[in-house]
Amino acid sequence: MTETTPSAAARLRRYQAPVWDEPLIMEMSGAGRRGNVPPEPIEALDPAAALPAGLLRAVAPALPEVAEPDVLRHYLHLSQETMGMVGISLFGTCTMKYNPRLNEQLAARDGLAEIHPDQDDSTIQGLLEAVHRFDLMLRGLSGMDRFVFQPGGGAAAAFTHAAVTRAYFADRGELGTRREIITTAQAHPCNPATASAAGFDIITLPVEADGYPSLDALKAVVSERTAALMMNNPDDMGIYNPHVKEWVRTVHEVGGLCFYDHANFNGVMGRLRAAELGFDACMFMLHKTFGVPKGGGGPAVGAYGCTAELAPYLPGPLVEETPDGFVRRENERGVGRVREYLGNVNQVVKAYSWLLAMGGDGIKEAADLSVLANNYMEKRLLGLRGVTKSVPEATQHRLEMTRFSLEEYTAETGLTAADVQNRMTDHGIDAFWMSHEPWIVPEPFTPEAGETWSLEDIDYWIDVMAHVLEEGRADPELVRTSPHHQVVGQIDGSSLDDPDRWATTWRAHLRKQGRA
């Protein structure tokens, strides 16, 4: 492809991350300072008289003593030293989205933030109704018969599937023989990891020349030992396995269950329904696909849905509508709990609000815009010298995202995808996603535009990459030693796996430095 890039450099913004040289809060301590004062006790009570001496704390914890305004300013400084969505984040496979502030306001109201999960059902009818209505919406989108929101993230939903699978086969007296769960090399690491944690043996199918594992490879491994198949489609390279119905049929023929990890649902929202493809269960991530904040890693929700056949094994409590209102009920044969209570229902209400705002028309449009933007990006990015895409033989338009490679650029300049990533953050671009393990594409990067980012933002992102790639050709050291406009420079990672130097707490660090 000979697509030329626009004259990028002329349009680049000047960017410099805020640098505060912020001390650790533990280093800000001033003896006697206070940031918060608890209420006086109702009546005086000497703890030493109320509890045995050996149960009382002997030495006060070495927490900082800091006044309230200083705590506020400290954490504001730290927020400013966090780029996140303040820059442009096209963090692929995680579908970065705008989180409507209205939903934050609604979730902060006492009627949600100050609800106790053990309140009587009659006192939380609004919450239970929202959960139920949202369950119905996801049923409509997936064709499944029942959802639970207890899993605290996508991986927890995958674990829920493994636990449900275990319970299902235990109930049928087959757990002793149903030992294997099949995933693919392109499945998220949580799929094999959660299946393994639930006690299953893992079979991983390799990706073949057309970008997905072959049906023959699947047929070669399915047997009466197969408990389940856990897969994504499209995968993280944006490639859709057109044989997925035969896959499901193949696994069903030996009595196994099929789980659709909908991590990459954004590009196919409103087009595909998991149940119509034959799947027994699926998972949606409300903290990405449904506009709920990621929180830098949660609180998240992996909404897990399944068919009526698996519903008896779902963890409780389940929310149901009765003539007397909405109730929680335990699921007698269910797996109990994968997490306490109903889950992160505060996030469920945000997702419900988001989906009301989007509607059936809106999610279809969001999927269209995501796929359109992805193909726009792909065409522009492949016009950059040194950028190739995974599985170039797959010539059809990709869905949602494409995995690209800087292999040729690395061969030419010695600069890696990580170097380019670092330098791009110098221009106000949040770090791109490279790839999950294992890397089956060398020097990968996986940008995903989604529907949140404007065409101007997408162009800017590509302009910055084009600029950085040229910078690296003209002055490789500039890129190799980047970032230069960030808060700090590149990490020296040598201490991170060294027992003598790693320190996950300040006290460990002080001890290892001989300062404690």
């Binding site: 650790l24 608890p38 209420p39 005086a44 703890p47 509890l51 149960l55 006060a60 914890p61 927490l63 506020l72 730290l78 927020s79 030293e81 009627g111 100050e114 309140q119 009587d120 006192t123 009818q125 609004g126 929202a130 919406m137 064709g143 996508g154 991986a155 674990f159 275990r166 319970a167 235990a170 757990l175 030992r179 990891a193 393994s196 639930a198 006690g199 893992i202 119905k245 119509e276 903290h287 904040p293 990621k294 830098g296 949660g298 306490e340 889950g343 229902v345 609000s353 705002a357 359109l372 933007a373 193909n375 726009y376 338009h397 393990e437 065409l455 991170l496 790693w502 996950t504 001890r511």
Partner: protein, 460 residues
């Protein structure tokens, strides 16, 4: 009409992208999907609401229909507790930089990584432990992870759990430990507590060669501060068994640090440290140990470590990343994923605001308020408080002698705008008609008067 969440939902932006890509219709871009895969039935969703005003009214109606623990006086605890959340905490966790991102580089997300490190560091001070992982979903999940760590560490297949544990938490532990029918399960053996004390007795543990861990909590689910923790930890050590201790972090300005009680792996909930109840969506679980390689190599979590840049600046990175499922898939330690990292920022702000004096005062206030409340409640005819001299913030109120069920009494209290204690009668039948009441620093003398008066009326 363009949708406010989608900048490219204008005809002009779409046209520019379509022209550049070289297709006439966006449908052409979905050519990978076979026609018979595309759903022919509608998804049942109504058209989207473009107006924020309309949407706000719609959702607010649902949210505001709930009765909450502000408009009502609540004595519910049992795993999620109402504590004061300082305003600065809400301000910081609402900042978009902390609320919305996912994963940057150590340079571009320095501030957030520092906040995470400060969370682990301050929690480590409270716990008396110097290796703290980033949190998992909940206390139950942390306990499940910790027991699995212990099984890997010892190569043994059984864990011992007191029968006083929260059924909610036990259910999570059981899911994490697996099924007896197969698939390499860890057996969970329950031991009774001494009804006279509410505590676990070391002689009841029946440790044997296959006991990987004893799981204890202090205060336990019935509110009681366990008295024999150090003794049990010593017995475990002599048997090659790990002691996994669950604690309430807001108690630790007053109660002994778990590190001083001989615990090997410490777990608990992060929710009390500046996180609202969120109907159960505020929970989070921590895992901490001594900084010994033996333990560090078994963590399934991500953990942020202090490090240096190549230029000698202070920075932070993920320690031992490879041993997680992200690095090693099914060969990693257990599994990890999105968790509750936003709440670690709330926890850090909270711990910084309180400081050592704040935690000490908070502990004293909670202990005093709870003991005061228990004393007043016990004045009501037929009401008995179990173990009145050994609890911290939660206590068991036995209503059996009143002839009423907890459900009846709680229904009566609701008429007075009070959420009574958590009903224990189904889960702990040996306690009769008992409820677990929680009193914290937010409760006042007037609140307790109100409760006592209401109880008297309900029971009259």
């Amino acid at each position: 009409m363009a949708h406010p969440y989608m900048p490219n939902s204008t005809a002009e932006a779409k046209a520019r992208m379509l022209a550049y890509v070289g297709v006439d219709d966006v449908e052409e871009l979905f050519e990978q999907i076979p026609a018979d895969h595309v759903s022919r039935s509608g998804n049942g969703l109504a058209p989207g609401i473009r107006s924020e005003a309309t949407l706000r009214r719609r959702v607010r109606t649902l949210v505001d229909r709930n009765d909450d623990c502000v408009g009502n006086l609540s004595f519910l605890g049992a795993g999620t507790w109402q504590h004061h959340v300082p305003a600065v905490v809400d301000e910081i966790v609402g900042r978009s930089e902390f609320l919305t991102p996912v994963w940057g580089t150590p340079s571009s997300d320095l501030g957030r990584n520092q906040a995470w490190f400060e969370y682990a560091s301050m929690l480590g001070e409270l716990l008396g432990m110097d290796f703290v992982g980033l949190p998992v979903y909940s206390w139950g999940a942390a306990a499940g992870n910790a027991l699995r760590m212990a099984a890997r560490l010892t190569g043994r297949g059984e864990v011992v759990v007191p029968a006083s544990i929260s059924p909610e938490r036990l259910a999570v532990i059981r899911t994490y430990c697996g099924l007896a029918e197969g698939n390499q399960p860890i057996a969970v053996r329950l031991v009774d507590v001494d009804p006279a004390t509410g505590c676990v007795d070391v002689s009841a543990l029946a440790l044997d060669a296959d006991t990987a861990a004893v799981y204890l909590e202090t205060p336990n689910h019935l509110g009681v501060v366990e008295t024999a923790t150090a003794e049990i930890a010593a017995a475990c050590r002599a048997n090659g068994t790990e002691t996994v201790l669950g604690v309430d972090p807001v108690s630790l300005g007053l109660l002994a640090a778990p590190g001083d009680l001989g615990a090997d792996i410490v777990v608990g909930s992060t929710q009390p440290l500046g996180v609202h109840l969120h109907a159960g969506g505020g929970v989070g679980g921590f895992i901490a140990t001594r900084d010994e390689e033996r333990y560090a190599r078994e963590y399934p979590t991500l953990q942020v470590s202090l490090a240096e840049t190549v230029r000698g600046e202070r920075t932070f990175g993920m320690a031992l990343f490879h041993q997680t499922s992200y690095g090693s898939r099914e060969d990693g330690n257990d599994w990890t994923g999105n968790s509750v990292y936003l709440w670690t920022v709330a926890n850090a702000v909270y711990m910084a605001l309180l400081g050592p004096e704040g935690f000490a005062e908070l502990g004293r206030t909670i202990l005093s308020n709870a003991r005061y409340a228990a004393g007043r409640v016990a004045e009501v005819d037929g009401v008995e408080v179990r173990w009145p001299d050994s609890f911290f913030k939660e206590f068991v109120v036995d209503l059996t002698a009143t002839g009423r069920t907890v459900a009846e009494v709680n229904a009566g209290l609701r008429e007075h705008g009070i959420f009574g204690g958590k009903d224990l009668s189904a889960d702990f039948p040996w306690l009769g008609q008992s409820a677990l009441f929680c009193v914290t620093e937010i409760h006042t003398a007037d609140d307790i008067d109100h409760l006592v008066q209401a109880l008297k009326e309900v029971l009259s």
